[in-house]
Assembly symmetry: C2
Homo-oligomer: 399 residues x 2
């Protein structure tokens, strides 16, 4: 274990910093998950996650990672040979593709340069051309955590509607939910996939699927083999506030408190806070004279900022300088931008002064690691955070 | 309760931020304080605090605040009518005087302007003039938390030695211990007074007295009434690892871990870290064009920095802006500098990026509160923290 004087700055883009209130909630004796006391908790958290996804439809809570929730979305609705449309927006889209391949889906993977969101024009083109409706699902990553480029799910929904295409819309919002605006019902999402360890401010260990009526109907008709991930067993037994197999009881204690915290702040305020921190971070990046990985200002992520290092410099060597000197973990570049980019997580349980500590660590690290840059990023971020047009941090009386 | 998105910045000069490891240690079932398992803990923590005070002599651990530890030092060694020499270095010296007055000591209180340490020349003068050795104790505050001026205890010891005066040397190091260099034995301190909630990184609730052989002899001869604070009952029963009355058991769990953390870092490294953070903070204050309360560079505190606000501005209004906008608590001005100064705590469980968040909050707050200042304090502090002459944060493998 490393020596920490003061708190470690965990500024990878997830798992994120877990609030003390959530840690305390988790730190309680495990309950009998078949007992009446548990059922009260079960009903509470099932209703709570519906509010976060903005849905009246069922949300399935798995004891799983986000990877499990990806798999669940696939095995419930699709069968080997089914055609799906995906977009390789970055490393996480590529990993989801890997699962789709294991389940022998027929994937049409639209390429990108890993510096933009999904290619909406190509998606529209493919859907238009698919007169026989062979494409069973359009699968997009909302907040691509490897590039910090956002694909707006509503834009994809609009394309499906415009082209009158019946494909399911599946959205990985693992690092989007509870950080970026998200509306499962209003945006017509069929399957939303998320995890506990990002904007939800929990340790890793819970995976979520929010499912539309249409997705449920498709899954009912889908004969492909599944057991652990089966939505219908879950939904049937969830009605009693319990689960078909052992849930991650203590994480559910934390989930209840985490959603309470999100609602005390107000989901709209949570989204606004992330936008503000994204803007301040990008102001710093601009002042440093560095280049964001994401090249489309409309696609900038409020949850994290991936930054290119100048050619001839190693992003991971820089990250090591920051860790060794300032006890801060930044995200590594993934996949094809390994060594070329680093990522600043500014999502979850976070505030202005944590961001300023983070950006100061980056600025000092750039200097110590001799990465060419201009100073002034920290000062630029402070100008954004002070912005008098921005409402001061909301306060609320809580229990 | 206030809404916190991310961690509150608790930058008052104590109570300080409690490390998670310490919180976890405290969060264990309370033990039978008369049982054998407790005795192991008792022996451990009694030895541990000796190492922090740098003494082979007994250290008494009270379930008390620092105020209790002040009283303990007085009632064990002094009787009504005894003459003592104190220095009004600030609010805490004044509060200690209040206790001395309640016990009807005959106090010679040397005045200061609250912007310097104790007046060593006057102390020497008084001791020299006291040929009959009526002065029974010289009582000084090591780190005056209201002004951030340090009185070096060794300098007072040297005066006592030079003047061959037998008075006891009593040092309040409540906000000094485990932040500033301190040597109970080597500096010839007779009674050292401390508390748990500052450099010791614990919640409030433990008071300490470290006592020299001479102080023990004086206390043995002292017939003044005391019970709770009596050193001799404590020392006798501490030999078995237990206490004469119920100790603050769970805080002792935390004490064991807190001392382990100090020793993993190394006490000398702890002192160096505080010095470095003091230097970075003063670089920021200088860049802002503000004035430290402490006017003697030799007396600058490594644990906190008190800062004057320009005339016509209210330090507490500024503090409120910082709290409302950036969820950071700064220390208020106390006593005669109420409203004229604020205090930045940089002691205890703390690191470079927590300091940068803190200083960014001060700089943004000065702007939002329209307190006249120059920008650039944050940048100046980063220059100090990057200082390539400074060794990077030490790392160690710990259990």
């Amino acid at each position: 274990m490393t020596l920490h004087t003061g708190r470690h700055f965990l500024q990878i883009p997830g798992p994120t910093n877990v609030p003390d209130r959530v840690l305390r909630a988790i730190d309680m004796p495990t309950l009998d998950h078949r007992g009446a006391e548990f059922a009260v908790l079960g009903h509470d958290v099932l209703a709570a996650v519906q509010r976060v996804f903005r849905t009246k439809q069922p949300v399935i809570i798995y004891p799983s990672s986000g990877t499990g929730a990806w798999e669940a979305a696939i095995v419930n609705t699709l069968s080997p040979g089914d055609k799906v449309l995906m977009s390789e927006t970055g490393q996480f889209a590529a990993l989801w593709l890997g699962i789709a391949n294991k389940f022998r889906l027929d994937v049409d993977m639209l390429p990108t340069d890993w510096r933009h969101g999904a290619p909406l024009d190509l998606i529209e083109e493919r859907l238009k051309a698919d007169r026989e409706h062979k494409i069973k699902a359009v699968m997009v990553v909302h907040n691509e955590t490897s590039t910090s480029c956002v694909t707006h799910p509503l834009e994809v929904r609009k394309i499906l509607d415009r082209t009158k295409h019946p494909a399911l819309l599946m959205v990985d919002t693992i690092s989007g939910l509870a950080s970026l605006e998200y509306e499962h019902d209003a945006w017509g999402i069929d399957v939303s996939i998320a995890g506990s360890q990002k904007g939800m401010m929990l340790p890793p260990g819970l995976g979520f699927n929010a499912v539309s009526e249409k997705a449920l109907a498709v899954s009912k008709a889908n004969t492909s083999t599944r057991s652990y991930w089966d939505w219908h067993d879950m939904i049937a037994i969830n009605k009693q506030g319990t689960f078909p197999y052992t849930p991650a009881t203590n994480l559910l204690y934390g989930l209840k408190v985490a959603v309470a915290m999100l609602e005390e702040e107000g989901l709209e305020n949570v989204w606004a806070r992330h936008k503000r921190h994204g803007a301040a971070t990008r102001a710093a990046v601009k002042a440093w004279g560095l280049e964001p990985v994401c090249q489309d200002p409309q696609a900038y992520s409020p949850a994290l900022t991936a930054v290119m290092v100048p050619q001839g410099h190693d992003a991971d060597a820089f990250r090591k300088v920051v860790l060794d000197n300032f006890d801060m973990s930044l995200g590594t570049g993934l996949g094809k931008i390994k060594g070329k980019a680093f990522r600043i997580g500014h999502l979850g349980h976070f505030n202005d002064l944590m961001l300023m500590g983070t950006l100061a660590g980056v600025e000092m690290g750039l200097d110590l690691a001799k990465v060419p840059h201009r100073t002034g990023g920290v000062a630029a971020a402070m100008e954004v955070l002070k912005g008098r047009d921005v409402v001061a941090m909301p306060k609320a009386a809580v229990a």
